[in-house]
C-alpha cells in the first residue's frame, strides 16, 4: 500500500493557509451576528472570599443593559465562594461592549475576605490557610494504577486501580539489589503561562429551537454536551462552530468552563475558569438573542489561562554496574491551584513506564497536588511531563557521570524498543491488555543528533576555562499520543464529478491535521489533494470524534477517514462491476475519478457512469456515502519519541545564556507532510520560553499576579534561540493507517533538562530551577565556589557500603 503513495508524504499546502494569509480565516472571536449583544464579566478581586451581598440596581438602570447574571439567577455557573483573583462573580449583557463594561463598574459587591495562600511553598507549611477547609493543601493523588501479570514478553496484562502510587514491582527490593543508586531532589519547575493568542470566549445564539455557539475549542463534540447541560438542551439542539482556532496549548479543553467551581478531587482537562462561553449561553437562552462574550484584555487571559503548575520533584534511580536502569522511585508535588486536577496527574506518568520501560523492574511514582488560591493549573504540550522530566533527565545525566558512561550511551542502554511496555496510568484510557511500543528507533535519533552537534568532541566542564564557556547537553522525551478508548467517526461523500467531501471533527489549531486527513482520503480514493475537501469545523455537518489532543489526531481521525473511504469504494465498485462486466467488485480499482479493471486497465468508466447506475435518471446524479468508525484498542500504541540536544554558551560573569541552538529530532514513523512535520518541531520555541525567563510571579501578600502582560512576561521571540528541526522515519507504525506517529505533545518534555545539562557541561553547575535566568545561574555558580561541590547527586556502590546513602543536595 505504501510503496507508491501519490499524496501521503507529499509536500501539500496546509489546509486553510491561504485563508490565514489573506485574513479570511474565521476564528471564533471574529464571528459577529446582526443584533448581537455583548457581555462583560465582573471578576473577584480577592484570592479567597465569600459573597455577602450584591446590588445590581445601578447597573440595571443603565440604558442598553439587557441582563445581569449573578449567583442569584445563574447559580449553576456563578458561585458565591471565590478562590482566586479573577473568579467570575457576575456578568452584564448590553447592547454594546462599552455599556456592559461601564455597567460592571456600577455593581456593588460586599465580600467577606478570607485567609489565602498563593505560594506553593507556603501552602505546604502546617500553619497555612487551607484552600479547602478540612483538607491539607498537600493532597495525595489517589487515582493510581498498579500493573501486574507480566506475560512471556514481559508485557503487563493487568492494570488495577490503587490509591498510593503508580507502578509495579518492589522498589525497596530493587534498590537492595542495585549496584549504583543515584538520588537527587530540590528540583522546582516554575509556573508557566500557556502560549495561547486568541482570547477565550464564545458567541452564542439561541433562536428558540436550536443553540449555535461559536467557541474557541479543540473539543467541539464534547463541548456540545457541556453547553447543552448549561442551556437545558439535549445535544441534538446544540451546534458548535469552531472553524479556525489559535494554538490550543491546554486552554481549549473547555470543560472547566461548565463544571462546578471547586473541589479537592475534581478532574478536568482544559482551562476555562472564566466561564465566558457558559455565560454567553445562559444569556442567549434567556434573551433569545445572540450574545458575544470574550475576555477583553490580555491580563484576563493571564488570570484564566494558567499553564504548567510549579512542580517539585525527587528522583531515586537504581542501576546495575553496566548502566542497566532497573529501579525507579519518584515523588511529585504539583501546584494544582484550586483543583485537585486529577486529569493532569493522569498524564504525569513517569518516563519509567514508557521511555525507560525496557529494563525497569521496579517502579513507584507518588504524586501530590498542592492546593493554592490560584486557578486550576492545566499544563499543555506534555501535559504534566515537562515539569518532572526537568528533574529525571538531569538525574540520568548525573547517573551517566557516576557510572562513567557517556550520557547518550546510558540512554541507548535503557530506552524503549518496539515491543516494550507502554504503560498509561490514565483513567482517560482503558487498559484491557498488554500495550507496547509500535515502532521507533531512538538510537538512530541519537546518532543523527550526535553527528549534527559534533557530540563526540564534547569536553567535560572541568576542561573549560574563560569567561564564556560552551556547553552541550541532551535529554530524551516521549509521550503516548492516544490510548485505548479514544477514536472518531468519519463520513466521506463521493461526488459524480470525481471529487469527495470528508466530514469529521478535527479541530484545526494549526498543526496541519486536516491536511493529513485530506491526504489520507485522497490516497485511499485515488484522487489528488485538491479533489478532496474537509468539513470539520461545524458539528452540524461533522460527526463525533475524541477531543483533538495529545498529538493523536492523524491516527484517531485518520483511521476513521481511511475506513470511510474504503466503505465508499465498496459501494462504488459494486455499482461499477456490472458496467465493466466483471464478476467481483474486488477486480476493480480507481484513480483520478475513473474505475478500471485491474487486469485490463483499458476497460474503465468515469465515476459519473457508476453513479447513474443507481437506477436514477440521467440528470440527478446520486452521491455515494461511506462511513468509518474507529476506536483505539490494546496492543501497539502510538507513541511520540524524540531527543533534544542543546548547544549554548554561558557567560560566567553575567549568568546569561548565549548562542542557544536547539536540535530536536523525532522518529515520526512516516512524515505525512515534510514541512508540517518540521513546523511542529519549531513549537519547541515556547518550551524554551520557560527555560529562558518566563514564569508567573505572584505577590504573596495580595495574591495578585505581578507580570500579567507581555511587557513583564518574556515570551519567546525570533531572537531567543535557533531551532534545528530533524526527523527520521524508522518504519511504518502499526497503529496508523499510513505508519505515522504523533508529534508535538512530547516536544517540550526534554528541553528544560537538556538546557540544564548543557549548562552543567559548560560550567559544572546543576540548575534545579526554571526559568534559568542569569540570577539563578550566578547564584548556582556562587554556591559552587563556596561549597566546592558540583551539585551532582550522590552515588553509592552497594558493594562498598552496607546501606545506600541518601543524598541531600542544596
Amino acid at each position: 500500500m505504501t510503496s507508491a503513495l501519490r499524496v501521503v508524504g507529499k509536500p501539500v499546502h496546509k489546509q486553510g493557509d491561504q485563508l490565514r494569509a489573506t485574513g479570511q480565516a474565521q476564528y471564533s472571536s471574529d464571528a459577529h451576528l446582526p443584533g448581537m449583544l455583548h457581555g462583560s464579566i465582573l471578576n473577584c478581586p480577592y484570592p479567597s472570599a465569600d459573597l455577602v451581598s450584591i446590588d445590581t440596581s445601578a447597573a440595571a438602570a443603565v440604558p442598553g443593559v439587557k441582563l445581569i447574571l449573578t449567583p442569584d439567577n445563574c447559580s449553576d455557573v456563578l458561585a458565591r465562594t471565590y478562590q482566586y483573583i479573577g473568579h467570575p462573580v457576575a456578568c452584564v449583557v448590553a447592547t454594546t461592549l462599552d455599556i456592559a463594561q461601564h455597567a460592571i463598574t456600577l455593581i456593588k459587591v460586599e465580600y467577606k475576605q478570607k485567609a489565602f495562600v498563593v505560594d506553593p511553598d507556603e501552602a505546604m507549611k502546617p500553619d497555612s490557610p487551607q484552600v479547602f477547609p478540612g483538607f491539607d493543601n498537600l493532597h495525595p493523588f489517589d487515582l493510581c494504577s498498579h500493573f501486574s501479570e507480566r506475560n512471556e514478553q514481559g508485557l503487563f496484562a493487568k492494570r488495577e486501580a490503587a490509591t498510593d502510587y503508580d507502578g509495579f514491582g518492589d522498589v525497596e527490593k530493587g534498590f537492595a539489589e542495585a549496584d549504583v543508586i543515584v538520588e537527587d531532589e530540590g528540583y522546582r519547575f516554575g509556573l508557566a503561562h500557556a502560549p495561547v493568542p486568541e482570547r477565550r470566549g464564545g458567541l452564542a445564539h439561541f433562536d428558540g429551537e436550536k443553540l449555535t455557539v461559536w467557541s474557541t475549542t479543540q473539543s467541539a463534540q464534547q463541548t456540545r454536551g457541556y453547553i447543552g447541560s448549561v442551556a437545558g438542551l439535549q445535544i441534538h439542539n446544540v451546534r458548535v462552530i469552531s472553524e479556525f482556532n489559535s494554538g490550543s496549548f491546554g486552554a481549549r479543553g473547555d470543560d472547566t468552563g461548565f463544571l462546578p467551581d471547586s473541589g479537592p478531587d475534581v478532574a478536568f482537562m482544559g482551562a476555562g475558569h472564566d466561564k465566558s462561553v457558559a455565560l454567553a449561553v445562559k444569556a442567549s437562552v434567556m434573551l433569545l438573542k445572540p450574545v458575544r462574550i470574550f475576555l477583553s484584555s490580555n491580563e484576563e487571559n493571564f488570570y484564566h489561562f494558567w499553564g504548567r503548575g510549579t512542580t517539585y520533584c525527587r528522583v531515586k534511580l537504581g542501576f546495575k554496574k553496566d548502566g542497566t536502569l532497573t529501579t525507579w522511585d519518584m515523588e511529585l508535588a504539583v501546584n494544582s491551584g484550586l483543583f485537585g486536577n486529577r486529569w493532569t496527574f493522569m498524564f504525569s506518568n513517569g518516563t519509567a513506564l514508557m521511555l525507560y520501560s525496557r529494563n525497569a523492574e521496579h517502579v513507584r511514582i507518588k504524586k501530590y497536588a498542592i492546593f493554592t488560591n490560584t486557578p486550576g493549573q492545566v499544563g499543555w504540550c506534555g501535559y504534566g511531563n515537562p515539569e518532572y522530566m526537568f528533574a529525571t533527565e538531569q538525574v540520568m545525566d548525573q547517573a551517566a557521570e557516576i557510572l562513567g558512561m557517556d550520557p547518550v550511551e546510558l540512554r541507548k542502554k535503557n530506552h524503549m524498543r518496539p515491543g516494550d511496555n507502554i504503560l498509561n496510568v490514565s483513567r482517560a484510557y482503558a487498559h484491557t491488555g498488554p500495550n507496547w511500543l509500535g515502532s521507533g528507533d531512538i538510537s538512530a535519533v541519537l546518532d543523527l543528533l550526535m553527528e549534527e552537534t559534533d557530540w563526540k568532541s564534547r569536553k567535560p566542564a572541568s576542561e573549560k576555562t574563560g569567561v564564556v564557556r560552551h556547553g552541550l547537553g541532551m535529554a530524551l522525551t516521549c509521550q503516548q499520543c492516544a490510548g485505548e478508548g479514544v477514536g472518531s467517526n468519519a463520513i466521506v461523500k463521493l461526488n459524480h464529478d470525481g471529487t469527495a467531501e470528508l466530514c469529521n471533527t478535527y479541530a484545526d489549531t494549526g498543526m496541519g491535521g486536516r491536511s493529513a486527513c485530506r491526504q489520507i482520503a485522497a490516497e485511499e480514493l485515488g484522487l489528488t489533494f485538491d479533489k478532496v475537501r474537509i468539513i470539520a469545523g461545524d458539528t452540524d455537518a461533522s460527526v463525533w470524534g475524541t477531543s483533538n489532543a495529545c498529538s493523536g489526531g492523524t491516527m484517531k481521525y485518520g483511521w476513521a477517514v481511511a475506513l470511510a473511504c474504503r466503505d465508499a469504494l465498496k459501494t462504488l465498485f459494486e455499482l461499477s462491476a456490472p458496467l465493466l462486466k466483471v464478476a467481483q467488485p474486488s477486480e476493480l480499482a480507481t484513480v483520478d475519478g475513473e474505475v478500471f479493471v485491474k487486469a485490463d486497465p483499458t476497460r474503465r468508466i468515469k465515476w459519473e457512469q457508476a453513479f447513474l447506475n443507481q437506477g436514477n435518471n440521467d440528470i440527478d446524479h446520486t452521491q455515494i456515502v461511506g462511513k468509518g468508525v474507529w476506536i483505539m484498542g490494546s496492543g501497539p500504541q502510538n507513541t511520540e519519541k524524540a531527543a533534544t540536544f542543546v548547544s549554548l554558551d554561558v557567560d560566567t560573569e553575567t549568568g546569561q545564556l548565549l548562542n542557544v541552538k536547539i536540535y530536536h529530532c523525532a522518529d515520526v514513523g512516516r512524515a505525512l507532510n515534510a514541512k508540517d512535520t518540521k513546523a511542529q518541531i519549531l513549537r519547541i520555541h515556547h518550551g524554551f520560553e520557560s527555560v529562558l525567563g518566563a514564569t508567573m510571579i505572584l505577590d504573596k501578600a495580595t495574591g495578585r499576579l505581578l507580570n500579567g502582560s507581555y511587557i513583564d512576561y518574556p515570551v519567546a521571540t525570533m531572537w531567543d534561540c535557533d531551532v534545528h528541526p530533524y526527523y527520521i522515519e524508522s518504519g511504518n507504525d502499526p497503529t496508523h493507517p499510513y505508519g505515522a506517529v504523533g508529534l508535538g505533545q512530547a516536544l517540550q518534555n526534554g528541553i528544560h533538562a537538556a538546557t540544564a545539562n548543557a549548562i552543567y557541561n559548560a560550567i559544572g553547575v546543576r540548575i534545579k530551577d526554571t526559568p534559568m535566568t542569569p540570577d539563578v545561574i550566578l547564584k548556582a555558580l556562587t554556591s559552587m565556589g563556596e561549597q566546592a561541590v558540583n551539585g551532582a547527586g550522590a552515588a553509592t556502590q552497594a558493594g562498598n557500603e552496607s546501606v545506600p546513602r541518601v543524598c541531600e543536595t542544596a
Binding site: K14, T22, G23, E198, G247, K675, Y710, T717, M718
Partner: protein, 164 residues
C-alpha cells in the same frame, strides 16, 4: 454611562475612503475590526507587545492597538485584506507564506505579513538579521520563527522576480 462624545474622521482603508463617527477612546484595531468588519487584523495583547494587530499607516508598520482611531483622520491604512490583488491571485508575500508554511495556527500571520510588506517596500532584499530587526517585535506563539524567516526570504525573491 457618561455621555458619548463622537468625533468624525475621514480615513482611507485599503484604497477606499470612509467617513466614520468614532469615540475618542477607540483604537484603530477597534475601528478596523468592529466599524469596518475587517477581522483579518487580530487583537491579542492590546498593549503593543505582540504585533498581531500590525497594519500599515502611510507606509509605516503600525500597532493598531496602540493607535487611537481619532488620530487617523486623513491617514491611509492598509490591512491584510488590502494586500490581495483583484486578479484572484495571492500577493507574493501571502503566496510565500502558504508555500513556506509561514503560518501554523495563523493568528499572528496577518500581523507578520503586514510587517513584512512594510519591510520589503523599503528593503527588497533583507538579510536574516535585518528580518529579525524588522519583525523581532512580532510574536508567534506557536514558535514558527524559522519558517517565518524563510517566508520573508521567499517573498523577497518572488517580488524581485516580479520586477525583473
Amino acid at each position: 454611562m457618561p455621555d458619548k462624545q463622537y468625533t468624525t474622521i475621514t480615513i482611507t482603508v485599503n484604497g477606499d475612503v470612509f467617513r466614520l463617527e468614532i469615540e475618542p477612546h477607540w483604537t484603530l484595531t477597534r475601528l478596523i475590526r468592529t466599524s469596518l468588519g475587517l477581522t483579518g487584523t487580530k487583537e491579542h495583547c492590546d498593549e503593543g507587545a505582540c504585533g498581531m494587530c500590525t497594519v500599515i499607516v502611510d507606509g509605516r508598520p503600525t500597532l493598531s492597538c496602540m493607535a487611537l482611531a481619532a488620530t487617523m483622520d486623513g491617514r491611509n491604512v492598509m490591512t491584510v485584506e488590502g494586500l490581495t490583488k483583484h486578479d484572484g491571485k495571492l500577493h507574493p508575500i501571502q503566496a510565500a507564506w502558504v508555500e513556506e508554511h509561514g503560518a501554523q495556527c495563523g493568528y499572528c500571520t496577518p500581523g507578520f505579513i503586514m510587517a513584512t510588506k512594510a519591510l520589503l517596500d523599503k528593503n527588497p532584499t533583507p538579510s536574516t538579521l535585518q528580518i529579525k530587526e524588522a519583525l523581532g517585535g512580532n510574536i508567534c506563539r506557536c514558535g514558527n520563527y524559522e519558517f517565518i524567516i524563510n517566508s520573508v526570504h521567499a517573498a523577497a525573491k518572488s517580488l524581485q522576480g516580479d520586477q525583473a
